[in-house]
Symmetry: C2
Subunit: 482 residues, 2 copies
């Protein structure tokens, strides 16, 4: 309550209300990904933090800096096992190694400074500050120190240069080393040396589009990733780790690189990988980009497919848009088209916690009010944190949400087959089918103040998406997939 | 996946799909409260469990038996830090002391039996079983033992009988000792000895209504609870603990009983408090119940108030209904009227985690298909786990949801004053105001397949609630409070 009250005295802090803590934690992640700076969340005791954990898990895997403040009972009240009493430290440690509890009113300021310092890293992390209520309502004159953003060291990499010209060498870009600058340098290195340049899946924000050097991502499923990496003998890791399978499957290895591949660290997560690449690329001629034309937006009166959606988004996406992705099973077909879109930045699911997409879009739109945010979202995952729509309307955020409605937890069909579980009888099928009743995303969006429309043909989708990107403010398109 | 697939081979297990894990955990709590038997939840790794923690916290405080199964990566995959890898044990320990991880395929059955045994208690608890994927997909012929419900011992209490006639003696009923049988026995003891009978706030399910012995609950706020308990010198605890304040406030004690009050344990949480009361009441004449008439349902064309809602529900509530309560700031005025309602059972918020009400109603309706479930819910708290509405429609559950829409986090106005935080400037006020945009609960309900109506007058509310209780199936009434 005292933190909320203080918003009237500290206009530099902008308070944004979300109706569920999972929206707060995901929005803080989106803000951090978009700007590379921490946002702060204010959550209410253990259960409030509990509701935020799933998206903090994704933020942790994205290395997003977040300052998470959690209110706690007054210290004297902790001994009595009140209804809301819980072990907040245990909640917090499930997603963070940086957990602090303020020890007095005088400690709140310094502990806040230390928490901000922890959040910055590098690499960024979810830093937790637990504040007992009595330290909020007691007097103090002690302020915390101002914290400066850290400068990441540039590693010395010249000893790795000879590897670049060896056959079977690949450079794996991850962390922050997937921005335009890093990709451009990597492209020059690839052109001059023959080394392959590939990107990790588990990055917070990736530059993409038709004027960006195309560095293919490690495929999601092992049957794609294993052949993709089979010939790699030297893997140069730039803010990245050795690629692993998302899930384990019977008889399939966890690591995706072959046993005879040697990993070399070009830059750690704490170092400036882009600067290291620029040092290696110094003096090399520019890389030639493949000539990719912008596609035409489809206008056929045909049933809407994922390909049509991908083409339409690729044709109409505004320059410098931010894409928040949580398409899950629909991702493959849509993303294939986005390489021909205008230059943009793409924010994937990093930790596999469902319910990331809409909140990350909220945070990105708050961080970058001058850029269009497009949320590519599945119907199943949208329902985890749908309350984000209300904050989009309340703050008039410039977000276009596209719900890819296949009315099924389609990814579970895929995993059911892959794990050999053979569950396609009526009872198990019923656990994957979300068509009964059909979710009406128009009413859902309108109930929270977001204008919405439904597209069932390619032409409808193109018309609606063109209209959405032409106007500022929140908008939802329910794209019903044939 | 293998658990889901197994539903086709084990028809005794009924799978119920929820669109968010917080709905699953709350529904399991509601099932346990309604029937006193465990339900099982199936959640997906750490983040899936994380989403369920808030309602598991409430279930823990209600002593609800729950068997929580959590899928984990295959054991060999844990060493590679895959995207979804997290410390599930740490997630689980934040709400449970009974956390098991299956150690082999042969151990899954016995570990499941041990988990069910832990869940039963007594007292009931949230028992966790973590199952690595490879133990699900490997062969075994080992089955777990069948588990019988425990028989709770009846404590010897005759030595406490002399206390009952002393001035300043009160009997505090909690746990399961707040059912019709326990309250009737307590009423006989009160009539014969002069001891006061009061009930704890933190119970999973309370019998109430006009033919039930009225045992007043300890008031929520300290300024009510402290005078309520000021004269108590001997407090006999029946499956209950010494009352504490929900929150701490500057200058107010945490314990609500006076320092010169002595607590005596009549029955622990693991014992049968009702049987102990019956033993004490043996041979005593029946207690005289106050003569309470059923009220008339209000039909005035006046703006809807909390009193009108309380009167209408009290007048029209079907016998043996189950009420799931999450009214928060609206509770006081509505609940005052329910003592004159038909006999019913009342399920309050136990742990203070928000988002309990709708999921608990789901679980109670699944447990007791022949009883009407009424969900008395606030607009702010409803938005935490609103996905419960979809499961109500999907399973055609006999639930009437009443949304008390005051369009504000009203409880925060109250707490803001109580903590002395003085936050009523525009920025902090904005964090409490949920009227911008107005949440349209009709569209929200209809988007998930639940029929809905809006009431703004007493007559409208009475007409709509009468209609809702007269028909089977899910129904939502948005009660807009003047």
């Amino acid at each position: 309550m005292h933190f909320v009250a203080a918003l009237d005295r500290v206009p530099e802090m902008r308070g944004v209300l979300c109706l569920f803590e999972g929206v707060c934690s995901g929005a803080a992640d989106g803000y951090a990904r978009a700007l590379g700076r921490p946002a702060s969340t204010l959550l209410h005791l253990g259960p409030g933090l509990g509701n935020g954990l799933a998206n903090f898990h994704n933020a942790r895997k994205a290395r997003s800096p977040i300052v998470s403040i959690v209110g706690e009972h007054a210290t004297a009240h902790l001994r009595v096992d009140a209804p809301l009493t819980s072990d907040i430290q245990t909640f917090a440690r499930s997603v963070s190694n940086a957990v602090r509890t303020a020890t007095s009113a005088d400690d709140v300021g310094p502990a806040a400074s230390a928490t901000i310092l922890s959040a910055w890293g590098p690499p960024g992390q979810v830093a937790m500050l637990i504040v007992p209520a009595d330290f909020s309502w007691s007097e103090t004159t002690v302020l915390g120190a101002a914290i400066q953003p850290p400068v990441r060291p540039v590693p010395e990499v010249s000893h790795l240069a000879p590897l670049l010209r060896q056959p079977g060498t690949a450079i794996l870009l991850g962390g922050t080393a997937v921005n335009f600058r890093a990709l451009e340098a990597a492209g020059r290195i690839a052109a001059a040396t023959g080394a392959r340049v590939i990107t990790a899946r588990n990055v917070g924000k990736l530059s993409a589009g038709r004027t960006t050097f195309p560095a293919p991502q490690v495929p999601y499923f092992p049957e794609g990733a294993l052949p993709f990496l089979a010939d790699v003998r030297n893997l140069l890791l730039v803010e990245a780790e050795r690629p692993v399978s998302f899930f384990a499957y019977p008889g399939i290895p966890s690591y995706m690189t072959p046993d005879n591949c040697v990993e070399h660290t070009l830059a750690t997560r704490a170092e400036d990988g882009a600067a290291a690449l620029l040092a290696l690329a110094d003096g090399l001629p520019p890389a030639k980009l493949p000539s990719v034309a912008a596609p035409e937006a489809p206008t056929a009166n045909e049933a809407l497919t994922l390909d049509f959606i991908g083409l339409s988004v690729a044709a109409l996406l505004p320059e410098h848009a931010l894409i928040a992705d949580e398409m899950v099973s629909s991702a493959g077909k849509v993303l294939g088209h986005l390489a021909s879109a205008a230059p943009h930045e793409f924010m994937p699911v990093t930790g596999g916690s469902i319910g990331q997409g809409l909140p990350v879009a909220v945070g990105a739109a708050i961080a970058c009010p001058d850029r269009k945010v497009v949320s590519l979202e599945a119907d199943g995952s949208a329902m985890y944190t749908l309350q984000a729509l209300w904050t989009m309307a309340r703050e008039n955020l410039d977000i276009t949400v596209i719900i890819l409605a296949n009315r099924r937890y389609r990814i579970l069909d895929i995993e059911m087959r892959r794990t050999g579980a053979k569950g396609f009888g009526p009872s198990s099928n019923n656990m994957i089918d979300i068509s009964r009743p059909v979710l009406d995303f128009l009413k859902l969006a309108e109930s929270m103040g977001v204008a919405a429309s439904r597209a069932t043909t390619a032409r409808q989708f193109t018309d609606q998406f063109r209209d959405a990107v032409a106007h500022r403010g929140p908008r939802l398109i329910e794209a019903v997939i044939a």
